[in-house]
């Protein structure tokens, strides 16, 4: 047992990217297809209000609403906020105003960006018009932004059948978020020890079980685990399965054996691949040891030590 002197806390970039594919209903499809065609559509509620951007259900009555209307591509700013330092994925890369715009003929507001020379050029009540994106695909970004406009106001909303050739029926909502992940004290110690080809766990001060990998807490006692304990290197296969399906991007021949391995001194089993023995000869109780590859940050697999098998009673609590 060693005192838990904290190594330098590990940190690493973690990028989460997800391209959600989303279906559009009839109203959203008409609206986004309309943007592609340079037409702004809204939807009319039963009490005659025009919602832009359109919603599929009346926010007051929850009635389904499908009556499409065309509104102007010009409108009035109802509130705004000056964004001096645009963030990377926002509509403009030069300073701009966020605006809520009430398009001519609409009774609700659309959120978008306004291209203006500076905050002094923006005010609530100012007139603006849509600046269309050069390439349009049927997405809210088909509106590149709004721009100041001093021409005449558009008229009333007029009925529109919402029919367009080749309607857009879905969008792909791309997102990327960047994180710097830190695993915290206990897992940092575990990972740091692996770099020296050692496996460390932590002992619960209450029930004395040794957790590996340690996460800093004993789930039975709900207290912090503190005493660092080196376990292994050898261990016992407590249970296993034979994998017959090759995973994408995984350079391991099937079938192979994936096992739970209770390292000597550990209070629970961790998992790893078993090698160096035909897959159909792996068994519960098999004694194994880790095999490291050059530069590997964790054991590549475990192989038989050649010792006699462990007695079932010696590991049955760890299955």
């Amino acid at each position: 047992m060693t005192a838990a002197s904290p190594p330098e806390i590990l940190r690493a970039p973690l990028v989460v990217e997800f391209p959600f594919t989303r279906s559009l209903g009839p109203v959203q499809s008409a609206f986004l297809t309309g943007l592609r065609e340079g037409t702004v559509l809204g939807v009319k509620t039963s009490d005659g209000k025009v919602m832009v951007p359109p919603v599929e259900y009346d926010p007051v009555t929850a009635e389904e609403i499908r009556e499409l209307v065309e509104v102007g591509a010009t409108g009035t700013v109802t509130t705004w906020a000056w964004n001096d330092r645009p963030r990377s994925q926002q509509p403009l890369d030069t300073p701009f105003a966020w605006v809520l715009v009430r398009l001519d003929g609409a009774d609700t507001d659309l959120l978008h960006a306004l291209d203006a020379p500076g905050p002094d050029a923006v005010r609530t009540g100012m007139r603006v018009r849509v600046r269309w994106a050069a390439e349009r695909t049927g997405a809210i970004t088909d509106i590149a932004c709004f721009e100041p406009y001093d021409g005449p106001a558009g008229g009333e909303a007029v009925p529109h059948d919402g029919d367009f050739a080749d309607a857009v029926t879905g969008i792909v909502a791309e997102a990327r978020l960047d994180y710097v992940y830190s695993p915290g004290r206990a897992q940092t110690a575990y990972i740091a020890a692996l770099s020296e080809r050692r496996t460390v766990g932590e002992r619960c001060p209450s029930c004395h079980k040794v957790y590996v990998p340690p996460r800093g807490a004993c789930p039975t006692c709900g207290v912090a685990t503190t005493d660092r304990v080196e376990v292994g290197p050898a261990g016992t296969v407590t249970t296993y399965c034979i994998v017959n399906i090759k995973a994408k991007n995984l350079d391991i021949e099937v079938p192979y054996v994936y096992a739970h391995i209770a390292l000597d001194g550990a209070g629970l089993a961790l998992h790893g691949r078993i090698g160096g023995i035909p897959y159909d000869q792996v068994r519960m109780g098999l004694r194994v040891e880790p095999v490291w590859t050059e530069g590997g940050r964790h054991p590549d697999h475990y192989r038989p030590t050649g010792e006699p098998d462990a007695d079932y009673d010696a590991y049955k609590e760890l299955i």
Partner: protein, 352 residues
């Protein structure tokens, strides 16, 4: 007390110090101390808790099912009755309160936590917006709050000086709060998104909080002066910002009506207003007069750990009742852009 089937009180509250970064702590390492504090305050052991409920967000952690990372801290083996909300812990408290009302539990442990430091929380929060019309534009949390602030200014309900005063008063109050992240005078700073300056915006930080709820006589045994939840309700507004009057918060007002806020005066209000302008909106919605002590803890402008700051408002209000500094308090929690969702609770101490 006749409003609900059972009397339920907050009997203990604890929170971490709220810090800009906590790289040395995993989620469970951050949460465990506050869990231990509330259990110690009540004398309850982990295994004696009837129901456990937590609030947190995968988008802050950048990983799926991130709440499972903290279950080790609540003694989840042997199996316990447990649940989670992907929201502020105030909503976890609501679920726990319902669980006690149904009679399925007599005590509940509620906790929540957020580590904003691994990611860029301004960008992360854009992922809760309408994915069709809004999220592709990436309007960050400060930008949306700034639109609301400008609407208030246009309506003549605030000006930049009044907003600055809200921030200054909050951080002055936070001097007495050892857990707060920003305490005392803080420069009002440059515009983040005009009209909001740095001083109008909450600090970004990591933190955790925990509360124990108990029913009836058990609450009286566990706590000298329980903070009875005599009313609690939560409401939501239309998702689209363009459908809403940003200068008002009808959902807060409605929740307050259902929670009985207006039936008698309150002496304390803990409001979850991450932006100075939002305090203006909430004061109006709740009809708070100058006699009410608003955010004596410093509020979210002094510490705003995501997913915990709302639960902390309930905890701070309860703690004030525990120590006899308040008789009847209102606590408010919010989630989503521009006060999208709002929870209101009334907490009362026994007369003495």
């Amino acid at each position: 007390m006749a409003r609900y089937a059972r009397e339920v009180a907050v009997v203990a509250f604890a929170q971490s110090d709220h810090l800009r970064r906590t790289d040395e702590l995993s989620e469970v390492e951050m949460v465990m101390p506050v869990l231990h504090q509330v259990l110690a305050a009540t004398g309850l052991k982990a295994g004696e808790i009837g129901f456990t409920c937590s609030g947190s967000s995968d988008y802050l952690a950048g990983r799926a099912f991130s709440f499972t990372m903290t279950l080790d801290g609540v003694g989840a083996w042997p199996p316990i009755s447990e649940s989670h909300v992907e929201m502020d812990g105030a909503w976890a408290l609501y679920e726990a309160w319902v669980k006690i009302q149904t009679g399925e539990a007599d005590t509940a442990l509620v906790y929540s936590y957020g580590k904003s430091s691994p990611g860029s929380v301004r960008d992360v929060l854009t992922r809760q917006l309408d994915p069709y019309y809004v999220a592709p534009l990436w309007p960050d949390a400060v930008a949306l709050a700034a639109l609301q602030a400008q609407a208030l200014i246009d309506a003549g309900e605030a000006d930049e000086a009044a907003l600055a005063a809200v921030g200054a008063r909050s951080r002055d109050a936070a001097v007495a709060n050892p857990h707060a992240q920003l305490r005392g005078p803080v420069p009002q700073g440059d515009y983040q998104v005009r009209p909001l300056r740095t001083g109008d915006c909450p600090p970004i930080g990591d933190g955790a909080a925990a509360v124990v709820l108990a029913a009836g006589d058990l609450a009286r045994r566990l706590c000298e002066r329980p903070a009875w939840i005599t009313g609690i309700d939560h409401r939501i507004e239309a998702h689209s910002l363009g459908l809403r009057d940003l200068t008002d918060s009808p959902s807060t007002r409605l929740a307050a009506e259902h929670a009985g806020v207006f039936e008698a005066p309150v002496d304390t209000a803990e409001l979850h207003a991450p932006f100075s302008s939002q305090e203006v909106v909430l004061r109006k919605a709740l009809g708070l007069t100058d006699e009410v002590s608003v955010n004596p803890s410093g509020g979210a402008l002094a510490a705003n750990p995501m997913m915990a700051a709302g639960l902390i408002r309930i905890g701070e209000a309860a703690a004030r009742i525990h120590r006899g500094a308040s008789r009847r308090a209102v606590a408010h929690a919010t989630s989503g852009p521009c006060l999208q969702q709002n929870l209101v609770a009334v907490l009362e101490g026994d007369a003495r």
